[in-house]
């Protein structure tokens, strides 16, 4: 009986986390657009603009083109959204540990991160438009490119902690576990991950798959109405998911470990003041990471050619990542 109750509780929590992550994703997309506008000396849309966009898209007519494979075309956005939402259950968020602790680890997260990109490519290929086909191929090329530095980073972290479990990795900040050489190594790994982030999220220097000016929307060219809206939500959820993954891997700091804010006890012996402070601190960290990894890079760079983007991940980023790994290995083996 207890077993059943605990699963029902988990189910409810997953639903709540999904709703919260959709809300936060749209809000952070608003921040991203506002910050981008400010950097371009514009006023920019209000923070609630992404909510309006999504609401509008759900009001529009949803067209399935004649050349499309309808079931694949319609299910691709749902795959993308569900994969991004499920990933949140395996991620430590602020002061809370992962909801599905013990059921999945870093490797599962890397696969969940790959599913939205695959679903997008699938939907593009199913829509039967040449633009979308080119976009899908570009998305897949980009995926096999950025997975290499991403995998190097994951393996290095796992080697350092002797564990793929996210709860173990985020239990102690990575910077405290190694000496000077290891810190340099992890700084290099962090740099490669920041370079991977826009590719993962198909943001400007690596948005060849969508490329409005050359491919007229690329993957999404035939998507309209509700399907486009679901893709929009999946994209923003993936954005804050990657940000939260960064925090879990590299900056799992909590304000309450330095200063206690008091207040009555709430969950698991945590004080209310600490809980609120930690959640707010988490949101600020998320904002900073999204600002650096998405907004600033988006404004500062123009789109790469697809072959150059692929080269960028395969050669310079892989070499930097391996250098970081080497430093961490030297540090840990005591040379």
């Amino acid at each position: 009986m207890n077993f059943v109750v605990s699963w029902i509780v988990k189910f409810v929590f997953v639903l709540v986390i999904s709703l919260i992550s959709i809300f936060l994703g749209l809000l952070y997309k608003g921040f991203d657009r506002k910050i981008t506008a400010m950097m371009q000396s514009r006023i920019g849309p209000p923070l609630r603009q992404p909510f309006r966009d999504v609401k509008k898209l759900f009001m529009k007519e949803t067209i399935v083109p004649d050349g499309a494979v309808p079931w694949l075309f319609n299910s691709a956005p749902i795959f993308a959204l569900v994969a991004s939402l499920v990933a949140f259950a395996y991620l430590p968020i602020g002061p809370f540990g992962p909801l599905m602790e013990g059921y999945g680890d870093l490797i599962l997260l890397l696969y969940l991160l790959a599913i939205p990109a695959v679903a997008m490519a699938m939907g593009g290929l199913a829509s039967g438009s040449p633009y979308a086909t080119v976009g899908s191929q570009r998305e897949l090329v980009l995926m096999i490119s950025y997975e290499v530095p991403l995998a190097i980073a994951a393996v290095t972290l796992a080697y350092n902690y002797n564990s793929f479990s996210l709860a173990t990795i985020s239990s102690e900040p990575v910077w405290n576990t190694v000496g000077a050489m290891g810190i340099l190594g992890f700084a290099l790994i962090l740099a490669t991950l920041i370079a991977v982030m826009p590719g993962e999220l198909s943001k400007v220097p690596f948005d060849q798959a969508e490329a409005e000016t050359e491919l007229a929307g690329g993957l999404f060219v035939e998507y309209s109405g509700r399907n486009l809206g679901i893709f929009y939500i999946a994209e923003v959820v993936k954005m804050i998911f990657v940000g939260a993954l960064f925090i879990a891997l590299f900056f799992p700091y909590n304000l309450s470990s330095w200063y206690s804010f008091g207040g009555p006890e709430v969950i698991n012996g945590m004080l209310l003041g600490n809980l609120i402070a930690d959640i707010l601190f988490f949101l600020v960290k998320l904002l900073i990471i999204i600002c650096v990894g998405v907004s600033v890079i988006r404004v500062a760079f123009a789109r790469f050619q697809i072959n150059k983007a692929s080269y960028f991940y395969w050669v310079p980023m892989t070499v930097i990542g391996l250098l970081g790994t080497l430093l961490v290995v030297f540090e840990n083996s005591g040379l």
């Binding site: 000396s41 514009r42 920019g44 849309p45 309006r52 009001m59 529009k60 633009y131 929307g217 486009l228």
Partner: protein, 147 residues
């Protein structure tokens, strides 16, 4: 889903050149630059007619473009508004009675198309933004708000 006021605040625009001299197109680009910054009203240029709510046509329709104009109109999901931009698109302007022109856009589009005229040669960015405001009025009508 019922059309609500949110629709007005998130209009996505698809721009198609149906044979204009490029002057109107440059003014449209001017309307999205930091000086006028239409993104603050939620107006965004998109790359595909499937994403669009507003179709921005510039230029008299040349014979070659006639089929494309109609096709893009059909491809756009409902509800949609057509913004006919510039004197050429409205009346064919200086190209009046040319052998290569299929006539102003409003004679080609279906009867039920809602068309808003934005005049000028070329149109000014302010006028384009004003045209979008008129699109809002039309959408209000569509919702059944009495104003």
């Amino acid at each position: 889903m019922k059309l609500s006021k949110t629709f007005d605040k998130a209009l996505w625009v698809f721009h198609i050149n149906s044979g204009s001299c490029n002057a109107c197109d440059i003014e449209i680009v001017a309307a999205v630059t930091p000086r006028y910054d239409t993104e603050r009203f939620g107006i965004k240029l998109v790359g595909s007619p499937r994403h669009a709510d507003v179709l921005l046509f510039t230029g008299p329709v040349t014979t070659k473009m006639k089929d494309r104009v109609l096709r893009v109109y059909e491809q756009t999901p409902d509800p949609k508004v057509v913004l006919v931009t510039g004197n050429c698109a409205d009346t064919t302007g200086v190209y009046f009675d040319s052998y290569a022109i299929e006539g102003p856009i409003d004679t080609l589009l279906p009867e039920d198309a809602h068309i808003i005229y934005v005049n000028g040669c070329p149109v000014r960015p302010e006028n384009i933004i004003n045209g979008v405001k008129e699109a809002w009025l039309y959408l209000e009508e569509l919702r059944g708000d009495d104003k």
